[in-house]
Point group: C2
Chain length 190, copies 2
Amino acid sequence: MNLKELVYKTRTCRRFEESHHIDLKILEGLIDLARMSASAANRQPLKYLLYNTPDFCERIFPSIAWAGYLKEWPGPLAGERPSAYIVIMGDKSITETYSVDHGIAAQSIMLGATEAGFGGCMIASIKRDLLRDELKIPERFEILLILALGKPVEKIIVDDIKDNDIKYWRDEKQTHHVPKRRLDELILKL
Amino acid sequence: MNLKELVYKTRTCRRFEESHHIDLKILEGLIDLARMSASAANRQPLKYLLYNTPDFCERIFPSIAWAGYLKEWPGPLAGERPSAYIVIMGDKSITETYSVDHGIAAQSIMLGATEAGFGGCMIASIKRDLLRDELKIPERFEILLILALGKPVEKIIVDDIKDNDIKYWRDEKQTHHVPKRRLDELILKL
Protein backbone atom coordinates (compact mmCIF):
# COMPACT_ATOMS: atom_id res chain seq x y z
CA MET A 1 0.00 0.00 0.00
CA ASN A 2 1.59 3.32 -0.96
CA LEU A 3 1.05 6.42 1.16
CA LYS A 4 -1.79 7.78 -0.96
CA GLU A 5 -3.71 4.51 -0.61
CA LEU A 6 -2.98 4.48 3.12
CA VAL A 7 -4.09 8.08 3.65
CA TYR A 8 -7.25 7.53 1.59
CA LYS A 9 -8.01 4.39 3.61
CA THR A 10 -7.49 6.17 6.94
CA ARG A 11 -11.03 7.40 7.53
CA THR A 12 -12.33 8.48 10.93
CA CYS A 13 -14.25 5.47 12.15
CA ARG A 14 -16.57 5.25 15.17
CA ARG A 15 -18.07 1.73 15.01
CA PHE A 16 -15.94 -1.34 15.62
CA GLU A 17 -15.98 -5.06 16.18
CA GLU A 18 -15.54 -4.65 19.91
CA SER A 19 -14.59 -8.25 20.58
CA HIS A 20 -11.52 -7.90 18.34
CA HIS A 21 -8.56 -7.60 20.67
CA ILE A 22 -5.64 -5.32 19.76
CA ASP A 23 -2.35 -6.62 21.04
CA LEU A 24 -0.22 -4.35 23.22
CA LYS A 25 2.74 -4.92 20.88
CA ILE A 26 0.75 -3.30 18.08
CA LEU A 27 -0.02 -0.26 20.22
CA GLU A 28 3.64 0.03 21.21
CA GLY A 29 4.59 -0.12 17.55
CA LEU A 30 2.23 2.79 16.88
CA ILE A 31 3.87 4.85 19.62
CA ASP A 32 7.23 4.12 18.03
CA LEU A 33 5.89 5.79 14.84
CA ALA A 34 4.90 8.82 16.93
CA ARG A 35 8.28 8.78 18.64
CA MET A 36 10.08 9.03 15.31
CA SER A 37 7.87 11.85 14.01
CA ALA A 38 8.77 15.54 14.14
CA SER A 39 8.50 17.52 17.37
CA ALA A 40 8.76 21.31 17.78
CA ALA A 41 12.35 22.19 18.74
CA ASN A 42 12.82 18.44 19.21
CA ARG A 43 11.47 18.75 22.75
CA GLN A 44 9.42 15.52 22.50
CA PRO A 45 7.07 16.41 25.35
CA LEU A 46 4.37 13.83 24.55
CA LYS A 47 3.65 10.86 26.79
CA TYR A 48 1.24 8.03 26.09
CA LEU A 49 -1.12 5.74 27.97
CA LEU A 50 -2.17 2.51 26.27
CA TYR A 51 -5.30 0.51 27.08
CA ASN A 52 -6.51 -2.65 25.39
CA THR A 53 -8.64 -4.46 27.97
CA PRO A 54 -12.47 -4.46 28.18
CA ASP A 55 -12.32 -3.22 31.75
CA PHE A 56 -10.30 -0.10 30.93
CA CYS A 57 -12.15 0.51 27.66
CA GLU A 58 -15.42 0.58 29.59
CA ARG A 59 -13.97 3.05 32.05
CA ILE A 60 -12.65 5.40 29.35
CA PHE A 61 -15.74 5.37 27.11
CA PRO A 62 -17.89 7.80 29.21
CA SER A 63 -15.21 10.50 28.98
CA ILE A 64 -15.62 10.85 25.24
CA ALA A 65 -18.03 13.06 23.28
CA TRP A 66 -18.88 11.22 20.07
CA ALA A 67 -19.61 12.64 16.60
CA GLY A 68 -20.89 16.15 17.26
CA TYR A 69 -22.93 16.35 14.06
CA LEU A 70 -24.91 13.14 14.68
CA LYS A 71 -27.26 14.65 17.24
CA GLU A 72 -29.43 11.55 17.56
CA TRP A 73 -26.48 9.24 18.12
CA PRO A 74 -24.98 8.92 21.61
CA GLY A 75 -21.94 7.04 20.35
CA PRO A 76 -21.23 3.43 19.47
CA LEU A 77 -23.44 0.81 21.14
CA ALA A 78 -22.05 -1.99 23.28
CA GLY A 79 -20.49 -4.49 20.90
CA GLU A 80 -19.38 -1.74 18.51
CA ARG A 81 -17.17 0.21 20.86
CA PRO A 82 -13.39 0.68 20.55
CA SER A 83 -11.26 -2.17 21.82
CA ALA A 84 -8.24 0.02 22.55
CA TYR A 85 -7.42 3.60 23.47
CA ILE A 86 -4.29 5.68 23.33
CA VAL A 87 -4.28 8.77 25.54
CA ILE A 88 -1.84 11.43 24.32
CA MET A 89 -0.63 13.77 27.03
CA GLY A 90 1.75 16.69 27.28
CA ASP A 91 4.38 16.41 29.98
CA LYS A 92 4.33 19.84 31.64
CA SER A 93 7.71 19.16 33.24
CA ILE A 94 9.18 19.40 29.71
CA THR A 95 7.11 22.25 28.29
CA GLU A 96 3.60 23.65 28.53
CA THR A 97 3.30 24.47 24.82
CA TYR A 98 2.86 21.48 22.59
CA SER A 99 2.42 23.30 19.28
CA VAL A 100 1.02 20.72 16.86
CA ASP A 101 3.17 17.86 18.14
CA HIS A 102 0.10 15.82 19.08
CA GLY A 103 -1.42 16.32 15.62
CA ILE A 104 1.77 15.08 13.99
CA ALA A 105 1.98 12.12 16.36
CA ALA A 106 -1.72 11.27 16.03
CA GLN A 107 -1.50 11.19 12.25
CA SER A 108 1.48 8.82 12.34
CA ILE A 109 -0.42 6.60 14.77
CA MET A 110 -3.68 6.54 12.80
CA LEU A 111 -1.86 5.75 9.54
CA GLY A 112 -0.08 2.94 11.36
CA ALA A 113 -3.36 1.64 12.76
CA THR A 114 -4.84 1.51 9.26
CA GLU A 115 -1.81 -0.33 7.93
CA ALA A 116 -2.22 -2.87 10.75
CA GLY A 117 -5.85 -3.45 9.78
CA PHE A 118 -7.44 -1.23 12.41
CA GLY A 119 -9.08 2.16 12.37
CA GLY A 120 -10.31 4.81 14.71
CA CYS A 121 -10.91 8.33 15.68
CA MET A 122 -8.90 11.26 17.07
CA ILE A 123 -10.91 12.82 19.86
CA ALA A 124 -10.23 16.21 21.45
CA SER A 125 -13.72 16.59 22.93
CA ILE A 126 -12.95 14.90 26.23
CA LYS A 127 -14.39 15.17 29.72
CA ARG A 128 -10.92 15.75 31.05
CA ASP A 129 -11.66 15.82 34.77
CA LEU A 130 -13.59 12.60 34.55
CA LEU A 131 -10.85 10.89 32.56
CA ARG A 132 -8.11 12.16 34.87
CA ASP A 133 -10.03 10.82 37.83
CA GLU A 134 -10.81 7.47 36.27
CA LEU A 135 -7.26 6.79 35.10
CA LYS A 136 -5.54 8.55 37.99
CA ILE A 137 -3.58 10.81 35.67
CA PRO A 138 -1.25 13.09 37.68
CA GLU A 139 -1.61 16.87 37.24
CA ARG A 140 1.83 16.97 35.66
CA PHE A 141 0.28 15.63 32.44
CA GLU A 142 -2.05 17.66 30.25
CA ILE A 143 -4.62 15.49 28.46
CA LEU A 144 -4.39 16.43 24.78
CA LEU A 145 -6.08 13.78 22.67
CA ILE A 146 -7.66 10.36 22.89
CA LEU A 147 -7.24 7.98 19.99
CA ALA A 148 -10.03 5.37 19.96
CA LEU A 149 -9.06 2.25 18.03
CA GLY A 150 -10.69 -0.93 16.85
CA LYS A 151 -11.53 -3.20 13.96
CA PRO A 152 -13.83 -1.04 11.78
CA VAL A 153 -17.32 -2.26 10.92
CA GLU A 154 -18.43 1.04 9.44
CA LYS A 155 -18.75 1.86 5.77
CA ILE A 156 -17.48 5.36 5.07
CA ILE A 157 -17.78 7.31 1.84
CA VAL A 158 -16.06 10.59 1.01
CA ASP A 159 -18.21 12.96 -1.06
CA ASP A 160 -17.36 16.26 -2.70
CA ILE A 161 -18.63 19.05 -0.51
CA LYS A 162 -21.92 20.72 -1.50
CA ASP A 163 -23.10 24.21 -0.49
CA ASN A 164 -20.14 24.49 1.86
CA ASP A 165 -21.82 22.03 4.26
CA ILE A 166 -19.06 20.14 6.11
CA LYS A 167 -21.33 18.10 8.39
CA TYR A 168 -20.88 14.34 8.05
CA TRP A 169 -24.10 12.30 8.02
CA ARG A 170 -25.45 8.75 7.83
CA ASP A 171 -27.74 7.42 5.16
CA GLU A 172 -30.56 4.91 5.67
CA LYS A 173 -28.10 2.02 5.34
CA GLN A 174 -25.96 3.52 8.11
CA THR A 175 -23.21 4.34 5.64
CA HIS A 176 -21.27 7.29 6.98
CA HIS A 177 -20.75 10.15 4.49
CA VAL A 178 -17.97 12.72 4.85
CA PRO A 179 -18.03 15.83 2.64
CA LYS A 180 -14.54 16.92 1.70
CA ARG A 181 -13.49 20.19 0.08
CA ARG A 182 -12.01 19.79 -3.36
CA LEU A 183 -8.33 20.30 -4.06
CA ASP A 184 -8.88 23.46 -6.10
CA GLU A 185 -10.59 25.05 -3.11
CA LEU A 186 -7.60 24.36 -0.87
CA ILE A 187 -4.77 25.56 -3.09
CA LEU A 188 -4.83 29.34 -3.35
CA LYS A 189 -3.28 31.31 -6.14
CA LEU A 190 -2.49 34.80 -4.91
CA MET B 1 8.35 0.98 1.77
CA ASN B 2 6.02 0.25 4.70
CA LEU B 3 4.92 3.03 7.03
CA LYS B 4 7.56 2.33 9.65
CA GLU B 5 10.32 2.62 7.04
CA LEU B 6 8.72 5.80 5.70
CA VAL B 7 8.37 7.41 9.14
CA TYR B 8 11.94 6.47 10.06
CA LYS B 9 13.17 7.94 6.77
CA THR B 10 11.24 11.19 7.27
CA ARG B 11 13.87 13.18 9.13
CA THR B 12 13.82 16.95 9.45
CA CYS B 13 16.27 18.13 6.81
CA ARG B 14 17.66 21.63 6.29
CA ARG B 15 20.23 21.26 3.51
CA PHE B 16 19.20 20.50 -0.04
CA GLU B 17 20.35 20.25 -3.62
CA GLU B 18 18.84 23.61 -4.47
CA SER B 19 19.03 23.16 -8.24
CA HIS B 20 16.73 20.13 -8.04
CA HIS B 21 13.33 21.34 -9.23
CA ILE B 22 10.16 19.98 -7.61
CA ASP B 23 7.29 19.78 -10.03
CA LEU B 24 4.03 21.53 -9.16
CA LYS B 25 2.15 18.26 -9.75
CA ILE B 26 4.11 16.69 -6.90
CA LEU B 27 3.24 19.54 -4.55
CA GLU B 28 -0.42 19.28 -5.53
CA GLY B 29 -0.30 15.55 -4.80
CA LEU B 30 1.03 16.33 -1.32
CA ILE B 31 -1.86 18.72 -0.68
CA ASP B 32 -4.23 15.97 -1.73
CA LEU B 33 -2.77 13.84 1.09
CA ALA B 34 -3.44 16.71 3.50
CA ARG B 35 -6.93 17.14 2.09
CA MET B 36 -7.79 13.51 2.85
CA SER B 37 -6.40 13.63 6.39
CA ALA B 38 -8.50 14.21 9.52
CA SER B 39 -9.76 17.68 10.43
CA ALA B 40 -11.39 18.74 13.73
CA ALA B 41 -15.17 18.59 13.33
CA ASN B 42 -14.45 18.09 9.61
CA ARG B 43 -14.24 21.88 9.18
CA GLN B 44 -11.25 21.67 6.82
CA PRO B 45 -10.14 25.26 7.38
CA LEU B 46 -6.63 24.92 5.96
CA LYS B 47 -5.55 26.60 2.75
CA TYR B 48 -2.24 26.20 0.98
CA LEU B 49 0.19 28.26 -1.08
CA LEU B 50 2.67 26.39 -3.27
CA TYR B 51 5.98 27.79 -4.54
CA ASN B 52 8.58 26.01 -6.63
CA THR B 53 10.45 28.71 -8.52
CA PRO B 54 13.85 30.20 -7.59
CA ASP B 55 12.37 33.68 -7.56
CA PHE B 56 9.71 32.89 -4.96
CA CYS B 57 12.02 30.64 -2.93
CA GLU B 58 14.45 33.53 -2.62
CA ARG B 59 11.67 35.81 -1.45
CA ILE B 60 10.38 33.37 1.17
CA PHE B 61 13.76 32.34 2.62
CA PRO B 62 14.35 35.50 4.77
CA SER B 63 11.06 34.93 6.64
CA ILE B 64 12.30 31.70 8.18
CA ALA B 65 14.24 31.16 11.41
CA TRP B 66 16.47 28.13 10.90
CA ALA B 67 17.53 25.49 13.44
CA GLY B 68 17.33 27.24 16.80
CA TYR B 69 19.94 25.02 18.45
CA LEU B 70 22.66 25.61 15.84
CA LYS B 71 23.62 29.06 17.05
CA GLU B 72 26.56 29.44 14.66
CA TRP B 73 24.53 28.50 11.63
CA PRO B 74 22.38 31.15 9.91
CA GLY B 75 20.57 28.57 7.79
CA PRO B 76 21.37 26.81 4.53
CA LEU B 77 23.83 28.54 2.20
CA ALA B 78 22.97 29.47 -1.37
CA GLY B 79 23.03 26.23 -3.35
CA GLU B 80 21.70 24.24 -0.39
CA ARG B 81 18.42 26.04 0.13
CA PRO B 82 14.94 24.56 -0.33
CA SER B 83 13.64 24.42 -3.88
CA ALA B 84 9.98 24.52 -2.88
CA TYR B 85 7.79 25.81 -0.08
CA ILE B 86 4.28 25.06 1.08
CA VAL B 87 2.66 27.73 3.25
CA ILE B 88 -0.14 26.31 5.42
CA MET B 89 -2.72 28.88 6.44
CA GLY B 90 -5.93 28.90 8.44
CA ASP B 91 -8.92 30.43 6.69
CA LYS B 92 -10.46 32.67 9.35
CA SER B 93 -13.70 32.86 7.37
CA ILE B 94 -14.21 29.17 8.28
CA THR B 95 -12.92 29.15 11.87
CA GLU B 96 -10.28 30.84 13.98
CA THR B 97 -9.33 27.71 15.92
CA TYR B 98 -7.35 25.19 13.95
CA SER B 99 -6.72 22.68 16.74
CA VAL B 100 -3.95 20.39 15.45
CA ASP B 101 -5.26 20.26 11.89
CA HIS B 102 -2.03 21.74 10.54
CA GLY B 103 0.05 19.18 12.42
CA ILE B 104 -1.97 16.34 10.94
CA ALA B 105 -1.77 17.86 7.46
CA ALA B 106 1.94 18.63 7.74
CA GLN B 107 2.76 15.07 8.73
CA SER B 108 0.85 13.65 5.76
CA ILE B 109 2.68 16.08 3.49
CA MET B 110 6.15 15.35 4.88
CA LEU B 111 5.61 11.58 4.65
CA GLY B 112 4.49 12.06 1.06
CA ALA B 113 7.53 14.20 0.31
CA THR B 114 9.83 11.47 1.62
CA GLU B 115 8.05 8.84 -0.47
CA ALA B 116 8.54 11.04 -3.53
CA GLY B 117 12.29 11.27 -2.84
CA PHE B 118 12.29 14.66 -1.17
CA GLY B 119 12.65 15.88 2.37
CA GLY B 120 12.27 18.99 4.42
CA CYS B 121 11.35 20.82 7.51
CA MET B 122 8.18 22.01 9.26
CA ILE B 123 8.74 25.57 10.38
CA ALA B 124 6.58 27.50 12.84
CA SER B 125 9.22 30.10 13.64
CA ILE B 126 8.25 32.53 10.91
CA LYS B 127 8.56 36.29 10.48
CA ARG B 128 4.87 36.44 9.71
CA ASP B 129 4.55 40.13 8.86
CA LEU B 130 7.47 39.93 6.46
CA LEU B 131 6.07 36.82 4.78
CA ARG B 132 2.56 38.28 4.55
CA ASP B 133 3.99 41.38 2.93
CA GLU B 134 6.24 39.54 0.52
CA LEU B 135 3.55 37.10 -0.68
CA LYS B 136 0.65 39.55 -0.35
CA ILE B 137 -1.29 37.20 1.91
CA PRO B 138 -4.68 38.73 2.79
CA GLU B 139 -5.52 39.24 6.49
CA ARG B 140 -8.25 36.63 6.16
CA PHE B 141 -5.57 33.92 6.30
CA GLU B 142 -3.57 33.11 9.41
CA ILE B 143 -0.06 31.90 8.63
CA LEU B 144 0.36 28.61 10.54
CA LEU B 145 3.34 26.71 9.17
CA ILE B 146 5.86 26.76 6.36
CA LEU B 147 7.05 23.46 4.95
CA ALA B 148 10.44 23.83 3.28
CA LEU B 149 11.13 21.10 0.75
CA GLY B 150 13.98 19.92 -1.40
CA LYS B 151 16.26 17.08 -2.39
CA PRO B 152 18.18 16.31 0.82
CA VAL B 153 21.97 16.45 0.88
CA GLU B 154 22.24 16.15 4.63
CA LYS B 155 23.19 13.03 6.56
CA ILE B 156 21.04 12.70 9.66
CA ILE B 157 21.49 10.22 12.50
CA VAL B 158 19.04 9.55 15.31
CA ASP B 159 20.70 8.86 18.66
CA ASP B 160 19.24 7.74 21.97
CA ILE B 161 18.88 10.76 24.21
CA LYS B 162 21.55 11.30 26.89
CA ASP B 163 21.16 13.35 30.09
CA ASN B 164 17.78 14.55 28.87
CA ASP B 165 19.52 16.83 26.33
CA ILE B 166 17.20 17.20 23.32
CA LYS B 167 19.38 19.65 21.35
CA TYR B 168 20.32 18.40 17.90
CA TRP B 169 23.92 19.06 16.85
CA ARG B 170 26.39 18.63 13.99
CA ASP B 171 29.60 16.69 14.17
CA GLU B 172 32.86 17.56 12.42
CA LYS B 173 31.71 15.83 9.24
CA GLN B 174 28.55 17.98 9.23
CA THR B 175 26.43 14.95 10.03
CA HIS B 176 23.32 16.12 11.83
CA HIS B 177 22.53 14.24 15.08
CA VAL B 178 19.06 14.17 16.61
CA PRO B 179 18.63 12.79 20.14
CA LYS B 180 15.33 10.96 20.53
CA ARG B 181 13.70 9.78 23.73
CA ARG B 182 13.38 6.03 24.03
CA LEU B 183 10.06 4.27 23.74
CA ASP B 184 10.02 3.22 27.40
CA GLU B 185 10.25 6.87 28.41
CA LEU B 186 7.21 7.79 26.34
CA ILE B 187 4.81 5.04 27.37
CA LEU B 188 3.65 5.58 30.93
CA LYS B 189 2.30 2.90 33.20
CA LEU B 190 0.07 4.47 35.82
